[in-house]
């Protein structure tokens, strides 16, 4: 099963158009906490209780996992569930708050006085460029805004903002590719240096373990000093199995061993960490191809999902990275990391728009829980509201 489906299968949406308040995301949160609960109490009984109960959400209480576990246990016993985690949506909003402040605030500021003229358009253009969405999308948007405003369809800042929201959502909504379910499900995590591949794998493993899956990590980064140790610490933290060779070993051979071991140990998920590589290094890119080939060689039936990690602070080079990686190893999805800074992550717009590869996860903080499924509407809402 696709990795991201695993994350979303329990958070079906009922009301698609509702993206104003925290309701939906809280639902995700509730579901996740349900899983927590099930795991913690290990009682079917509790499960029934949870499912038959109304859920109240309390946003204010901190994010300490232990406290959460304690609390949920106690509360579950009293048949009245209150969720104590700061909601995911709130955290996404907090993470994007710098973006939000500047983006919406600025659109309003620019459009506050009078109609849309050449100066306003230029200011808007600068605003878009600043958010790293690239010149192509910027000019396209400006042209559309200009046209619409001449036709009288865009008259004030609210109209422009809702127009922009629609355009952005349209760009980001890409169907995820159907992949056949295989066991184990193999995920190859790739990207340039320093985007957060190893950390992301740690966070992914944490989630999967929470769902009760058997997770294996393969230490494919045999190049960077202490990369293996870093992954090992994550394996320990998440209680995952790890397959590793020594530093300097052939990455493909570690992966080959790992896949075989994962199959024989009946793993549900195998997460492969790879060395950071700049996309213009031909030999290193070939190595990725080789890694993909050895997985096939270990077991031809295994469906590999390749996820590209993109740093949200990256500029237009992010698009070139994505292009190159897609060309060499094909990309099934993008993980956008470090959204908790002031960077806007705008680079995903040209990437998704050109390559038609969906963003599947986003990272909004350093905590293990700060990696979640990507939802374009939530993302845009958090950006604007």
């Amino acid at each position: 099963m696709a990795l991201w489906k695993f994350f979303t299968k329990k958070s079906k949406k009922d009301d698609k158009n509702e993206c104003v308040e925290n309701k939906e995301q809280n639902k995700h949160e509730v579901e996740d906490n349900k899983e927590d609960l099930i795991e913690n109490t290990k009682e079917e009984k509790t499960k029934d209780i949870i499912e038959n109960n109304n859920v109240k959400i309390n946003e204010e209480i901190g994010i300490n996992d232990e406290i959460v576990e304690e609390k949920t246990k106690i509360i579950a016993e009293s048949n009245n569930i209150e969720l104590s985690k700061e909601s995911w949506f709130a955290r996404l909003k907090k993470g994007l708050s710098k973006t939000r402040d500047s983006f919406t605030y600025n659109v309003r500021k620019i459009l506050n006085f009078g109609e849309i003229d050449a100066d306003t358009l230029e200011e808007l253009e600068e605003l878009f460029i600043q958010s790293d969405i690239g010149t192509n999308i910027t000019f396209d948007l400006i042209e559309k805004i200009e046209k619409q405003s001449i036709l009288g369809k865009l008259k004030n800042s609210d109209e422009v903002i809702s127009f922009l929201k629609k355009e952005f959502i349209k760009t980001l909504e890409i169907e995820t590719r159907e992949k056949k379910s295989t066991k184990p499900s193999v995920t190859l995590v790739v990207g340039v240096n320093g985007v957060g591949k190893t950390t992301t794998i740690g966070k992914l493993a944490h989630h999967l373990k929470k769902g009760g899956s058997k997770v294996m990590m393969i230490a494919g980064d045999t190049f960077r000093a202490a990369a293996i140790e870093q992954l090992e610490i994550w394996a320990k933290r998440t209680d995952s199995v790890i397959v590793k060779h020594n530093e300097g070993a052939d990455s493909a051979s570690v992966v080959f061993d790992g896949i075989n071991s994962g199959i024989s140990k009946n793993m549900d998920f195998i997460l492969i960490d790879t060395a950071g590589r700049l996309h213009n290094k031909v030999n290193l890119m070939k190595e990725l191809e080789k890694i993909k080939n050895v997985i096939k060689k270990a077991n031809d039936n295994i469906e590999i999902e390749t996820l590209l990690v993109i740093d949200s602070t990256s500029g237009q080079n992010g698009l070139i990275q994505a292009r190159s990686f897609k060309q060499v190893v094909d990309i099934d999805g993008i993980i956008l990391t470090k959204l908790d800074g002031t960077a806007k992550g705008g680079i995903i717009f040209p990437i998704v728009s050109e390559l038609k590869v969906p963003v599947v996860f986003i990272g909004v903080g350093e905590g293990v829980d700060d990696l979640r499924f990507f939802d374009s509407e939530d993302f845009i809402s958090a950006l604007f509201d």
Binding site: A225, A226, E229, Q230, L278, D311, G315, Q316, I320, G341
Partner: protein, 443 residues
């Protein structure tokens, strides 16, 4: 490096060069294109705006548009403005002569601080400085181990107090440890952090409040987008920076950050990271970088690299051998090693003026492996074979080929090329004798 930017600006300027007359409208069109190229390369939009404004004013203000070669004049102005943005002179780390010099590297997560610490250590170790690396990244799993592994690999001691002690205390203790040992330079590796993370920024302030830090260098990933300027600004405001280090410049299509940060913060770029290997850290020369961006090559860096890689005595010895055509595989092998010291062939090519464009035109993929194969073949030869290649017969060829893991054809090709080279040298030697002594570089 900067290939994309260079190439695109080159195209724009080519159009300009052909024009005998330049109207203001032509200029506007050109500058609009320049603007797009710069924005596409992630140059901060404010910097771009000023840049375009300045170039336009200077171009219109003088008699340039009416001059004989207005295109060239405009290019000259663009070059001057670029140098202005990048900063004037190269600035080095300033050593304190009375006590141990302390530098601290800070930056966002994943910008390359730990690797850069080791690169700086390697750089100064080669200049006979005694160095202590200090591990103060107490958060990222295995960060301390990473620094230790790197320190070991270059023979530089790493000071660590585990991940429980506060960084400012670690630096204090490190200095106490370093002084009796006669250490010249302490390099402090700190944890990656967001510029808006108040607690972690406070941690850095504490380091500086409790220690005298000679240099606070911000490590910036060259692939960063428009946000680079915000990040640099915030770090500067909160803890005060003395300079910048740009990393990952060995990728493609960027340099925008390089152009912007210096301009906005006023802090000089001191080093640039140009590869994953420990020796791939270069001093930053703004004027050279500007020429490189404009596709004018960087001959100065090339010469410096050659000077550091080649020993003058050896070079003279070789030159003699050259002229007498006594050059052997043994010598050739030595040469290969020296060239390798200068960096990869494509790096070297990029520094040669005009090469950037040429390379693109012919779509030549320089295969670094070729050299490795040649090296392997020479490695499989006996000493006698290296000095007297004509003893290499069929069975020896077979042995050499299997030893090197190549095929006999490749061995043949190398032998043939070597013979050709020797013939050429013989002729050159004769020519040189006729023309008088020319200052010589073996190749």
């Amino acid at each position: 490096m900067f290939e994309n930017l260079t190439e695109k600006l080159g195209d724009i300027f080519d159009k300009l060069k052909g024009k005998g007359k330049l109207t203001e409208k032509d200029l506007d069109i050109t500058l609009r294109e320049v603007k797009l190229v710069l924005l596409g390369a992630d140059v901060n939009f404010k910097v771009v705006k000023d840049f375009i404004k300045n170039v336009k004013e200077k171009s219109l203000g003088s008699e340039i548009l009416k001059s004989l070669s207005p295109g060239h004049q405009v290019i000259k102005i663009v070059n001057e403005e670029l140098v202005d943005i990048l900063g004037g002179e190269n600035e080095k780390i300033i050593f304190n002569s009375n006590r141990v010099t302390k530098i601290m590297l800070v930056g966002l997560q994943g910008s390359g601080k730990t690797t850069t610490c080791a690169k700086i250590a390697y750089n100064y170790k080669a200049q006979n400085k005694k160095i202590l690396l200090v591990a103060a990244d107490i958060y990222r799993p295995a960060a301390i181990k990473q620094l230790k592994v790197l320190g070991d690999s270059i023979g530089v001691e790493v000071f660590s107090m585990g991940d429980k002690e506060e960084p400012w205390k670690i630096l204090k203790a490190a200095e106490e440890y370093a002084v009796p040992k006669g250490i010249d330079l302490i390099i402090l590796d700190t944890a990656g952090r967001l510029h808006i993370d108040e607690n972690l920024m406070e941690e850095l302030s504490l380091i500086k409040q409790n220690n005298i830090v000679d240099e606070t260098l911000l490590v910036v990933d060259a692939m960063t987008g428009q946000d680079a300027v915000n990040v640099a600004d915030k770090f500067n405001e909160k803890i005060g920076l003395s300079g910048l280090i740009l990393t990952k410049l060995d990728g493609d299509a960027r340099g925008g950050a390089a152009l912007s940060i210096k301009k906005v913060t006023g802090k000089p770029i001191k080093y640039i990271g140009v590869g994953e290997k420990i020796n791939q850290l270069e001093s930053f020369y703004p004027d050279r970088m500007a020429s490189r961006i404009l596709g004018m090559g960087d001959v100065l860096t090339l010469i410096e690299k050659a000077q550091s890689a080649f020993n003058e005595e050896e070079a003279k010895e070789l030159e003699k051998k050259f002229r007498k055509a006594e050059f052997t595989f043994e010598d050739f092998y030595k040469q290969l090693q020296q060239i390798k010291k200068m960096g990869s062939i494509s790096d070297i090519m990029n520094m040669i003026p005009g090469m950037g464009k040429l390379k693109k035109m012919q779509d030549v993929q320089v295969d670094e492996k070729e050299l490795v194969y040649v090296e392997a073949i020479i490695n499989s030869m006996t000493k006698e074979e290296r000095i007297r290649p004509n003893v290499i017969d069929g069975s020896r060829k077979k042995r050499i080929a299997s030893g090197a893991g190549r095929n006999v054809q490749e061995v043949n090709r190398l032998l043939k090329q070597f013979e050709d080279m020797k013939k050429m040298m013989k002729n050159m030697g004769k020519m040189q004798k006729m023309m008088g002594k020319m200052p010589g570089f073996p190749f």
